[in-house]
Symmetry: C2
Subunit: 420 residues, 2 copies
């Protein structure tokens, strides 16, 4: 077995657990948040800095790496770890999600997906076998099954992946009027059949293949997909097709339903999620692994996460603000002297300076706010791991006002008597 999962503590009043996943490139604590290193780099952040934010595993996108520089080249250079200088666990997705949502022209059939490269327009075919072969070449510790990720229930959603929904709708209307339920059923069956093909194609014993359950926001279909996917014995399973445009309440409802049905002894990975309230709800539902581009994407756009919510550093109100992004944060921007990697006399970075960097389009603005945001999510996960063990959910709720949104107040209230 290329992956081991040890559960060290279980929450008495929720499904949450604290654990340790061990891979050929080291271990990571769960619940874990994986920064996204799309093209083999967390944008603007050195691998050593990623590690210093507390991240112990990161994600690379197969789709982007297969287009540039190509999986064969990455393999010839020793695999993704050596390629990007990250000697710790890495997970790659299958490339399917980006193939559906990013390509201008794509077609999906029962055997796979065809699309044109966003780089040079060349025609590319991804099948379960090819997606696994590419991930075998890239060499991540955890690789993902090639699944059929159907559009969100609401084709008019504007929140996350409009391009994907647009393409999905265009695809589906070619077959006549769009029947969302029929599309979900088709995705479920394909995902199950493709998973068997992925498992048969997988050749490297040092890589752990995770299956992905789909089903949209329909709980019965979620159960059916989990049942189908778990018929293939794998070291871990993921919940896909969440946070693709649906409301927070739907995310919480789907995850609370789906996560406990996945095998208790194996890591559960909720793909592409997300905001703090969603992460906390998913941890309480028993999820162990997460990834999201929010810290770096929002960081590049001058949006800084704080325990009170996001602040937009470009705003004129910060022009003369000498305060750090968040007092008490121990990231390099907020408290450089607290970090071993800073000079002893390092000075905290003011919001006014950060605003100046964004106003003048200096690279250091995106870098510093990305570093802060990455640390923000790692601090949240670290606090969740601590709180699962000590049961002080009241203290947790006080420290993270931003997590007291949507259904979270109710969820957290139910846990607050759970002191040791």
């Amino acid at each position: 077995m290329s992956l081991e999962f040890a559960i060290h503590h279980r929450c008495a009043r929720s499904q949450a657990r604290v654990g340790l996943v061990t891979t050929p490139h080291g271990s990571f604590d769960t619940p874990a948040f994986m920064p996204v290193g799309t093209r083999g780099t967390v944008k603007g952040i050195l691998p050593t800095q990623v590690a210093q934010t507390g991240a112990q595993i990161l994600l690379n996108n197969t789709y982007h790496l297969m287009l540039r520089p190509g999986a064969e080249l990455v393999q010839s250079l020793g695999g993704v770890h050596r390629f990007m200088g990250w000697d710790a666990p890495i997970l790659t997705d299958s490339g399917g999600y980006q193939a559906y949502s990013m390509a201008d022209i794509n077609a999906i059939d029962d055997d796979g997906v065809s699309f044109r490269s966003i780089i040079d327009g060349s025609k590319i075919r991804l099948t379960p076998e090819r997606a696994i072969e590419i991930q075998n070449q890239l060499g991540a510790d955890i690789i993902m099954a090639f699944d059929d990720c159907p559009p969100s229930a609401d084709p008019g959603s504007t929140t996350t992946n409009q391009a994907r929904l647009r393409h999905a709708a265009a695809r589906d209307t070619k077959r006549g009027s769009y029947d969302h339920d029929a599309r979900l059923d088709l995705a479920l069956d394909r995902t199950a059949r493709w998973l068997e093909r992925c498992a048969n194609a997988h050749k490297r014993s040092d890589q752990a293949l995770f299956g992905i359950a789909q089903g949209g926001t329909d709980l019965d279909r979620r159960s059916r997909s989990i049942e189908q996917v778990c018929q293939v014995d794998l070291p871990g399973y993921a919940i896909g097709g969440v946070a693709v445009g649906e409301a927070h309440d739907d995310i919480v409802r789907v995850v609370a339903h789906a996560a406990p049905q996945l095998p208790e002894a194996k890591p559960r990975y909720l793909m592409g999620v997300g905001y703090e309230r969603d992460l906390v709800a998913a941890v309480l539902a028993g999820c162990d692994m997460f990834d999201c581009v929010l810290p770096t994407r929002n960081g590049r756009n001058a949006n800084a996460f704080t325990s009170q919510g996001q602040i937009r550093i470009r705003n004129a109100q910060y022009r003369e603000d000498p305060a750090p992004i968040e007092a008490g944060c121990d990231c390099l921007a907020c408290q450089p002297s607290a970090n071993a990697w800073a000079t002893p006399d390092g000075l905290p970075i003011s919001r006014a300076y950060l605003r100046h960097l964004f106003s003048t389009e200096e690279m250091l603005g995106p870098i510093l706010v990305s570093l802060h945001n990455l640390r923000h999510f790692q601090r949240l996960m670290s606090d969740l791991r601590t709180t699962i063990v000590n049961g002080d959910w009241g203290g947790f709720a006080n420290r993270w006002p931003v997590a007291r949104e949507g259904l979270l107040p109710e969820l957290l209230r139910g846990l607050q008597d759970d002191k040791p």
Copy 2:
């Protein structure tokens, strides 16, 4: 006195010396190379990383900071050190050079320079008094006199600052045909008169004002300017108007003539230089301080400095190259495990990976090559300091083939018997 200069060793066969400059924000070893932090940031590089390349002092551009965010704001936030999080020595230039060369519309007269802001087109006036007032507000440890920097002898030069030459020519032809000698003489007189006004306007005893000698490539005018400028007693002096388009031989000739005429007991700063061969020649002539944008500007353009010369990382020949930029370099990119700031298991970064980062326009490419280049110049200065003490110029020449260009082989040959 806000600045102290101690000379610890003098080369027996050249004017070179090893020293230590002490400022209110700490000391730096000389000969020193100052990275350029134009707008209060060395582009893409955290202050802690700048320090870790070995830099002990950096330069900020008054022109850019006065336009954005404004000197008053920097002052209200505690000055440039606190503003950018660099608790070590900083030098600011006067803003004159950029005012001449960057503004679309500018006019120079005996009292100062008028130009329009490149940000919003507003009309701005810089005089000796105003340039000093702004630098007093910014609060650097070393500030520079406002001088009249005349165009290079060759108005057709395309090598460095075409815009500046173009504007200078436009300015000068308004007065009739361009007379280079007359323009040089005018610049010398203005520079001398403006220096007295700068010294009278300077209000902060914790900042050291340096004077600047001009004179173009004419050695007699260089001598005259130095004589004029040194009539004002200041803690340090600079050689300006070098490397503004002239040939390497002219740079070496001018610096070898001018540097020894500056006061022996005070730091000598050669402004805006430059390439390795020029730096080595200037050190041998007795210069102590240097600044140049080459490491970061070329780094952003994928040009990496090595001891053999520059390599262009974008080139197809590096597509599959697993080697670091330069074997034996101890920068973060070439040898991460050698750095205390890297993870213990950090992996060296290949040329192939760097090429991938530039091909995909990832920020990390400019960051890593800038870090390498900054370290390259600091390693050169460190080796110069060592060699001045131990006299092994033959060893130095072997380690730095790139410095064996132009007049350097002859200069270095003359030193090679100088072993202890």
